[in-house]
């Protein structure tokens, strides 16, 4: 109980200081309207004043840069880098189950591998001249041979396939090649033309419709050749093993590409004439560009082999990538028939490579 002598009113606190008038300055004061306590603000000011302005500015710039980099890495570079790492890991691995375990398909009338006569190997005087997809461009071929000062009997000519079709004078190119005693490999155009020709002689119910499209083109083309020219084309192997050349290791010529770690005799002939990319993991080649470029995997795998076991491949077929020279692969198709260039690699006795090309006259495919 409260002491009875003290009235309750006395218990009410003095409220005079709650009486704030808006006429006083204090009412508009910012005293307590702050984010950082003035005491702290003071401390910060004291410290930052000691840091030069320029450094403060740099700090901001660096922060912005770091944020940008982080975002770029997260959204683009990171995934790119991990894909690159994954591809590298795939290329490094030797898969247990990979393409090429089968018995290589055997085709009648298709020669898988030939070895070039040793007498054509380059030395001090002799050179090897390898030329990309000619496609019937005889004039350009003649120009290029002139430009490299090709001498019959001394130098040896090798053609990387697709000698014929599309261009103006396929029979002319073949007869020139025959005349120069050139070596060649079978390209997809030779393959299709020769197979069409063989098919017409083995069956009589080949449906007429089947031949109405490019197959009839291939047969028409076949009719422009003499039997001796056809026989010469049929002798072109899928793969030509040229032999050992300093710096280059074993030199091999093929039209499209090869699957690494598979012997030449075991290479799938269809893909050797048609591949453009390969699955780095399963080593499954493809005609499309969906996978790793085959020559990328090829170069990667060659570098892992002991020096004496390495193989350099000279090929054509891939017009889009054009002249494409890497350590263990030389791509020579620079699209002559569609108005590009005709390219030759001239290889000397010490393995030195010189690239020579001529501009082609026009786009013959139009």
């Amino acid at each position: 109980m409260y002491p009875s002598h003290r009235p309750l009113i006395d218990l009410i606190p003095d409220n005079s200081n709650l009486d704030v008038s808006d006429e006083e300055d204090g009412f508009y004061g910012h005293d307590d309207d702050y984010l950082i306590h003035p005491k702290w603000k003071h401390i910060i000011h004291r410290t930052t004043n000691r840091v030069p302005r320029r450094i403060q500015r740099y700090l901001v710039i660096w922060l912005v840069l770091a944020t940008t980099t982080l975002i770029a890495w997260r959204s683009y570079l990171g995934p790119q880098y991990s894909a690159y790492r994954a591809e590298l890991a795939d290329m490094d691995s030797t898969p247990k189950e990979a393409f090429g375990a089968n018995v290589r398909p055997h085709f009648t009338d298709t020669i898988q591998v030939k070895t070039m006569d040793e007498k054509h190997l380059p030395d001090k005087h002799k050179r090897l001249v390898i030329i990309g997809d000619v496609h019937g461009c005889k004039k350009e071929l003649e120009e290029l041979l002139k430009k490299v000062e090709f001498e019959k009997g001394r130098d040896h000519l090798i053609l990387t396939g697709d000698i014929i079709a599309k261009g103006p004078d396929s029979p002319g190119v073949v007869s020139l090649a025959q005349h120069l005693d050139a070596s060649c490999v079978r390209g997809n155009h030779e393959d299709r033309m020769l197979l069409s020709l063989a098919a017409t002689s083995t069956s009589h119910t080949t449906p007429p419709n089947a031949l109405s499209h490019s197959d009839s083109k291939a047969r028409q083309l076949a009719q422009s050749f003499t039997p001796s020219q056809l026989a010469w084309l049929a002798e072109c192997p899928v793969i030509l093993s040229v032999g050992a050349i300093p710096k280059l290791g074993t030199l091999v010529v093929v039209h499209a590409g090869l699957v690494p770690d598979i012997p030449l005799a075991q290479q799938d002939p269809f893909y050797a004439m048609n591949m453009r990319s390969i699955d780095a993991k399963t080593r499954m080649p493809s005609e499309t560009r969906a996978g790793t470029p085959w020559e990328k995997l090829w170069n990667h795998r060659q570098a892992k082999l002991p020096a004496h076991a390495r193989t350099t491949v000279v090929y054509g077929h891939d017009r889009k990538r054009g002249r494409n020279v890497e350590r263990y692969s030389i791509g020579l198709d620079s699209g002559c028939v569609s108005g590009g260039h005709l390219t030759a690699v001239v290889i000397g006795g010490r393995g030195e490579c010189e690239f020579v090309q001529v501009r082609c006259r026009q786009d013959y495919t139009k």
């Binding site: 299709r192 063989a198 069956s203 197959d215």
Partner: protein, 303 residues
């Protein structure tokens, strides 16, 4: 009242019957909808589509689906099947070659060729393809012909019948009962090679696209020109882009993985070898079959 209802029912039934009996080859099936509609009509309980089926098998199981009912005398052993298939495909390929007719390996048979130029040991089906033109020629000139065969060593003599499905004019899948166009049947046990014809169904709108009645699609340029090769020791043909056709049908795994259906690829000898587990499973299966047979005989004896 009743008479008019009967009349309507009869009229309806006859309309449906004529629709079913008329050739469906001319029906435009550019979209899936119509096809579904057609099939539903045919699956009505009134008509049993099975009776439209030309080639019949003693059963639909894994075991019985691979015999022609007319020549079936019971399931053969694994050994007999292998031997039958070997001579059967040789005789088939030799016959086509001697008549200068185009035929080529397809499906599982093509896959077997790809691996080692032989059949896949677990494959009960043998498949070949011909063009529609060849199929019609066969129907005209060689239907129901019998072919005597003697193996190269002279030890094996066989007889085969070439039977062309009269539904060959129908180039669409139809009711799915006649998707096999012809058969090369061993008359001793009813094992056969399935022959399917490819037609360019829409030469105007989709030129260069070939289809079998089971709707496998091929392009002219991946089929032709064919490649001459060797299968089971005799000359055979395979399509131009054999790899692509196999990948489209079976995916890349079929050309890479070395374990399939209880068999493992031997990298040294390059043949498919039956795994121990598979051998045991088959022995068990054979034992059970034997017991069932005995049981049946006992029952017969008891009666």
């Amino acid at each position: 009242m009743k008479a008019s209802q009967y009349a309507i029912a009869v009229a309806l039934a006859s309309v449906i019957a004529t629709t079913l009996a008329s050739p469906t080859g001319s029906v435009e099936k550019s979209d899936g909808k119509k096809e579904i509609g057609l099939r539903q009509e045919q699956e009505s309980p009134r008509e049993d589509k099975k009776k439209n089926k030309y080639f019949n098998e003693p059963g639909t199981t894994h075991q019985l689906g691979h015999y022609d009912a007319r020549y079936f005398h019971g399931v053969v052993s694994d050994k007999e099947r292998t031997d039958t298939q070997l001579h059967m495909i040789r005789a088939y390929l030799d016959f086509f070659r001697s008549k200068r007719l185009d035929t080529w390996l397809a499906h599982g048979t093509l896959l077997g060729w790809w691996w080692n130029g032989r059949r896949l040991p677990w494959d009960w089906d043998m498949d070949t393809q011909v063009s529609e033109a060849t199929l019609q020629y066969l129907g005209e000139k060689h239907n129901h012909t019998k072919h005597e065969y003697t193996s190269d060593d002279g030890k094996t003599k066989r007889e085969y019948i070439l039977d062309i499905n009269p539904w060959l004019w129908e180039r669409e899948r139809g009711d799915g009962m006649n998707i096999i166009d012809a058969r090369w049947v061993d008359t001793r046990n009813g094992l056969f090679i399935d022959i399917t014809g490819l037609s360019e169904i829409h030469p105007d709108t989709a030129p260069g696209v070939w289809r079998c009645k089971n709707n496998h699609k091929y392009e002219t340029l991946e089929l032709y020109p064919m490649r001459e090769t060797v299968f089971e020791g005799v000359a055979a043909k395979v399509p131009y882009s054999y790899d692509k056709i196999l990948i489209d049908e079976y995916t890349e795994k079929a050309l890479i993985l070395t374990r399939w259906e209880g068999h493992i690829w031997d990298a040294e000898t390059k043949v498919w070898i039956k795994t121990q587990a598979q051998i045991e499973a088959e022995a068990e299966e054979a034992r059970i079959r034997e017991e069932i047979k005995k049981e049946e005989q006992r029952k017969k004896g008891g009666k």
